[in-house]
Amino acid sequence: AAAMSVNADLRRERAAATFQPELLTYILDGGPERTRRRKEIEALVLNDPDFQHEDLNFLSRSQRYEQAIRKSSLMVMKLREYGIADPEEIYWFKSFVHRGRPEPLDLHLGMFLPTLLTQATPEQQDRFFMPAWNLEIIGTYAQTEMGHGTHLRGLETTATYDPSTQEFILNSPTVTSIKWWPGGLGKTSNHAIVLAQLYTQGQCKGLHAFIVPIRQLGTHEPLPGITVGDIGPKFGYDEMDNGYLKMDNFRIPRENMLMKYAQVEPDGTYVKPVSDKLTYGTMVFIRSLIVGDSARSLSRACTIAIRYSAVRHQSELKPGEPEPQILDYQTQQYKLFPLLATAYAFHFVGAYIKDTYHRVNGDISKGDLSELPELHALTAGLKAFTSWTANAGIEECRMACGGHGYSRCSGIPDIYVTFTPSCTYEGENTVMMLQTARFLMKSYTQVTSGQQVTGMVSYLNDLSRQRIQPQHVAARTVTVRINDPTSLVEAYKSRAARLVESAAKNLQAELNHRNNKEDAWNRTSVDLVRASEAHCHYVIVKLFTAKLAEVTDAAVRAVLTNLCLLYALFGISRNAGDFLQAGILTSVQITQVNQHVKELLAVIRPNAVALVDSFDFHDVHLGSVLGRYDGNVYENMFEWAKKSPLNNTQVHGSFHKHLKPMQAKL
């Protein structure tokens, strides 16, 4: 088709922006050089005919899997050919090749190879690493079972050591112990790192990792004793063969247990690992990636919804005038702009977590583990907070696109189904929030026993100081200036302190009633989750505010300041009860906050399109007809629909099969 010019509405929007979108893109990427490199890698993929294929929306699941595996193979080869080795650059490359979707080699590249590097002995690395690097061995990481996910200790797969043959005998003793969900397990992998309860000399030694061959090299048929397959259709993840694995007296040599830390000697003697804290590091890393994913997924949905809202005209605002862009309706702005602000907030949080991880990781390698517990707790909470928020936000974006948002051509259904499992994987969100709460309660106890705490929870130190004064916490007066982000950070801090304190007191009250700690904890868990959420919310507002000071360009800083204010004030408006109940804000102030939110919507409106342009998603990556950069929505919806499988023939087969006979009979 002939190149179409950019839709007039979008052209006007872009011309009216008060800042240069590229400057903001540089901030998101971490500098102009990173942006340049990202675009370079993007071009490598997009200009490569090997990575072209028809729209995935029209393919069956098997076909999508096939496309994905084809592209994955080429991707591995080309990454090496181009010498791309930096983890972030690999991530970009992969993300462009697979357009933000999962792919069957994800676990091989992301879990199997790294686990070999960190947990295998040098001899094991010799045996497995190079074949795996060369893809003769394709592996996955089989942890989750049908009956257990986040609660690892409950896993039931067993590995029993038999000293007579020097082998481990692997078994899935119950239906619930069948490995279930691991990506790439169903059809792709010929090996798996299996987590199982180790039994030796009649004793259970807990979970350990074993390298298990599952398919015959050469024929790819399952090995005797192995039952393996695909777990069937899911909400999304069509290109991923999430699989099941059942083992019946399957024997592997002793040398297949990953023995860098714990070991089983030939006679069956178990040698304990030195420390298990190190595994925290990997979890922190993966959860920090999810925070970044939350930002990106929400940004994509916002890009689509905001561009479409600038192109779509509907109804009337002023009698007699042409139909306005739907983005001019206050209700539409109220749906979308807070989400846009949230997307920016999460970008900065994601970057902070990543940097902190690298810093703390450096300390760890020097033997300093002091910051790890807080980072671990914070990452768990932020993973849950951002993924929940982004999940709901993507749906709001879809809803804001009306009927067309429901069509797969909008791209939002795909973003949603791809993103939503992150609320569950790598730690179920509620469980994550409770982990953060555990850290908050521990910190609170420290403070009440006179110790000082440091880091993001240091606001708890103030609580003990206030307790010296006779007045109730709620009676405290805080002067909040609603135009000043720094002052709003203080308001969020007070809210977090109040909810942490209240949860701690409720927990104590429950503990006084009963002597069962777990029970008391359970009966306080709704309060505990609220406390964690308030803590995370405070951290996000704080980090967003801190980011403003780093921005040098005045125009960009101005627009980001408005977004930051909107993020903070909208959060207050939505959680007004917390601020009122704690006496942090008065009803009059809440009215002012609500009013200011609406004023900010109007202030942000002229920059809305430029703000999503700054995310700099290529159309191919965005995968949306509604969110196209050129805004030529309707023409392209029609072109897209013509390719629907139902349109393959002019008269559908069911006419001859069912309709015609019915009409003949009646």
Partner: protein, 658 residues
Amino acid sequence: SVNPDLASERQTSSFSVERLTALLDGGAEQTQIRRAVVEAIESDPVFSRENQYFQTQNERYEAAVRKAVHLQKKMHEMGWTENGPEYKYLYRALSGDVAFLLHRVFMRSISMLGSDKQIAKWIPLSTQHKLIGSYAQTELGHGTYLQGLETTAVFDTATQEFILNTPKISAMKWWPGDMGRSATHTVVFAQLYIHGKCYGIHPFIVQIRSLQDHSLCPGITAGDIGPKMNFEHIDNGYLLLKNVRIPRDNMLSKFCEVQPDGTYVRQGSQKINYFTMTTVRISVLADEVLTPLMKACTIAIRYSVVRRQSKLKPGEQEAKILDYQTQQEKLLPQLATAYAFHFINDYLQELFNRGYGEIQRKNFDMLPELHALSSGFKAVITQHCTAGVEICLRACGGHGYSLLSGLPSLYTKIFASCIYEGENTILLLQTARFLIKCFMAASSGQPVPPSVTYLAAVKHGKCPAKNKLDFLSPDIYTEAYQHVAVRLTSSTAAKLQDLIQSGVKKHDAWNQCTVQLVQAAKAHCHYIAVKNFAETVEKLETKAGIQKIMKHLCDLFALHGIFSNTGAFLYDGYTSAAQMDMVTASYLDLLAVIRKDAVPLVDAFDFTDKSLNSALGSHDGQVYQRLYEWAQKSPTNQMSPAYERYLKPLLHNTLSKL
């Protein structure tokens, strides 16, 4: 055999499940009829949904057509008629998985909008399925805002025909169900032009496909709009019209007629019509919105007593996940919501029946109120139920994400209800317009309809609760809801007036207040739902434990609403900070109480396993076995060409050959 973890839940029920089912059905006889219909449908293999999750869009469509055709035969066999008592249960029994639903809308629009002559001609043809109808209103460029539609119908006096055109891309009809592949005829809504003058939107019957070979008629371009989040079985379609000529008789002319010389004549009142449109919004609620939430609750709650995870007490067995407070806090409010909306739906149906009687007697007084209620509740119910289904989905962790859980399909299907039959934000603003008007009238002492008389009685009191048990008193919480609804309406009305008095134009002032207006409309509906639930409970029989458990659910529904929106209740000091702590305490206590009856409460919805079509939610609780069995049926576990084509060369390290 039934999983013992599920069986034990049923032994401790505090009420009679069978009686509650009868209550939900509106009587034990109704339950009997419903079960008979469900049994007849489910025992017929043609209606099976067993492979649904594995089918492609083409296969789903074909199955839906086959079922629609077979349904005609079945109805004949069983002696069911469209006016019989069985008919209303058919859709539920089929779980909506059937084609030609728009055929009925086609027929209804002819009955409503057509002249007697037109009805006599088209209805028999439709009833006998000599033709298949659809209803083409929405366009690519316009949905809820009907005046903006761009399709044109120009009257040509010379030939006595209308010439229909979709003059630009955005005018193309887009979304109508059954139109992509099936329909032979459709009712097209178009701007009527006579002698160059536009008379607004009118309905026209247009034949789009040949009755002989189903090929498209001249001037027609039509097809399927492509994959959606759900409704794969429905061929939502597009339609382009290029100088399509239809006879003058094909304009539906009960209310407006174009005479041979081009004279435009209006006749009769459209008010009944308007009323019918309003009723449609309410009529979809039970099957399309409440049923999915009830199914989702059934699946999630049964699964949550079968799934055990982690330990609550050291040394004991792992705990059922429903024993975790956080899990209860996700699921039980959804259960209470399902019951609350079931009762409000009953209330609305009754109100509309009464309204229908009045309108028959040419009394149109109730119309504005009915319209406001239907708009507001359509929006509020669809929004809450959609959110509720998603909560259920996510509460099932990883397994909820599998299509085999049944939850993703329920979610993607109910989601569409937020958009069709009027976009929710627009509907809430319609309700708000009514509220503001009534508030102004009430303030100046004029009479207002019954549902809004409370707006006149503005009280500036404080919540009188003294301890947490007081919050289990319907009077206390109903009044709190009323207070919030009045405050939001009155403050928005005041704000609007301020703006207008300060010189802002009326429409600008309205747009500047829309966020608040939406909140006011929601508060109004929430208040009525709480009040109605409380009143319903009061009237229930006290026997068999029904009233008691319903009272708990009513309390939970009300307190959950306060707990999730504390700001609205604390604002202006109506509820104090200390009282809010009491609300929270009472609310959390209730969770533990209702927890004990959670499984019987979903059993009472009385869904068969086939209708749930869920590996997680079956009555026997054999979750894991079923998940494993069903997964093995997946087409991905049959031979795939991917191995030979891509994997083999990859594994054998012959990448360069790719």
